[in-house]
Symmetry: C2
Subunit: 249 residues, 2 copies
DNA sequence: AATCCTCTTCCACTGAGTGGAAGGTGCCAG
DNA sequence: CTGGCACCTTCCACTCAGTGGAAGAGGATT
């Protein structure tokens, strides 16, 4: 089961990550734990189909076909499309780095991100995952997550900066406040010099995503940012619930 | 060779497309041409790995893992990231639908797209393909494509609207002009009521993409649009060639 | 020219993958 | 309530697709 043909082929694809976007055959085989000769054949098939492409140097990279498939994923097609114009508006009015994220298991998965030419040190990248307890969007998603998820996350509050909240009781208290006030904040809990605000995005009753923003400092403008975020979040919710999601012919 | 385990698994993934973003097992098996029992097992593996996800109804959709992989593809990671801020600027100054596209075989592949809330009838979608001879970005990419590609495309100029250029000689003449003047235009050749302008995006010497724009009419503002496009295209080129592409920590 | 690296091809062996058939579930119509 | 239909799941004996060690080709470095 850990080494059926299929799972091996998938393991080869899984060998790629943010730090390793292009790999040679040997490396690919090593990372996937597959004999070279076997990897050679499988990689060949993946390449022929378009799941992998070759770079000038001969190294393999993820192919366009996978990229195209990815665009069909629900995260992409539903949520992102609905959110896109609102994110732009939001960016236009605030010029801060703007984020859309969903919960994936016990982590935050960044689905969309809009940043200017220069910006605050931001760790996230579209498609990357971060711990929930140290990010604005994470706190929002955690606040509305099922009880069991919350408990499990509280078990393991790893420290990231000096300001990361690592006491379960304190985080729990913050989450209560998030539900009461409708937004979450962080102050240098993920990376120094970066604060964030975030609000939930709903589809009907359920919270399906979080919309957040990273700024160098938020004392001054907090109310303004929160209301901008909430306007955008409502807009997205309305689009999601809206008339069968606008279909592009 | 058309039915190794691997190619069957890939065929299952390939069963999804823009019109069929969620499919039930039976349908999936039928489309991939695989016996139900076999499809059941393969789909199970794909699902366990995260390549497929299940919707509330039980139907399958492309999973987040594939989406994440797609983000690692070179189209996405290099080009799109470099282009993103310039596309926003461009959209901000012109408020027209803006496109970034590359050539994939004999077609145009739309890589990025920025549209306002309301817009001209535009056919493209990110990840979709269109014929090269009837789109602005297509003409640009065709003008700089290898000779053999150009010849093959010229063989088959399918008519789409009444204005589509279908005479090889005439298109060839337009392509010459594209190379001379540095931009391409279309007038309702793909869909009525939509005109477009496009310019090449270079990485060093070679044209790697095209940047385009769709507007209802371009007589008036052509020079302004072309120069806005060229500014953006130069910006992208500079970023691409730039200091080892800005790495996000 | 010797060493080391990665890639490619080959082929005899064998167990992983196959798929028809049977059974389960849930829905709708008569 | 009952039969029919459409979809999903499980089973298991057969066999052919997949395996991977080994050997050879290409290319870079010393």
């Amino acid at each position: 089961m850990g080494d059926s043909v299929t799972s091996r082929a998938l393991a080869l694809l899984g060998a790629f990550d943010g730090e390793n976007r292009s790999l040679c055959l040997t490396e690919l085989a090593r990372r996937a734990g597959i004999p070279l000769a076997t990897a050679h054949r499988l990689v060949g098939e993946l390449h022929r189909w378009g799941a992998l492409a070759r770079e000038p140097g001969g190294d393999y990279v993820i192919g366009r076909r996978i990229w195209q498939l990815g665009l069909l994923a629900p995260v992409q097609s539903g949520l992102t499309q609905a959110a896109s114009p609102f994110l732009h508006d939001l960016y236009g009015t605030t010029l801060a780095t703007v984020h859309l994220a969903v919960r994936d298991g016990l982590e935050v998965l960044y689905v969309e991100r809009l940043a200017g030419h220069v910006s605050v040190p931001v760790v996230s990248r579209v498609g990357s995952r971060l711990p929930m307890h140290a990010t604005g969007v994470g706190k929002v998603l955690l606040a509305y997550a099922p009880e069991e998820v919350r408990l499990e996350v509280l078990q393991n509050l790893t420290r990231i900066t000096a300001y990361t909240v690592t006491q379960p009781a304190r985080l729990l208290d913050q989450l209560r406040r998030v539900r009461a006030e409708g937004y979450a904040t962080t102050g240098e809990e993920m990376s120094l010099g970066a604060c964030s605000v975030a609000v939930p995005v709903r589809n009907g009753e359920t919270v399906v995503a979080a919309l957040g923003m990273v700024v160098p400092d938020l004392r001054r403008q907090l109310p303004r940012l929160v209301s901008a975020l909430q306007v955008a979040a409502h807009g997205i919710s309305r689009t999601l619930a809206g008339p069968a999601s606008v279909e592009w012919k």
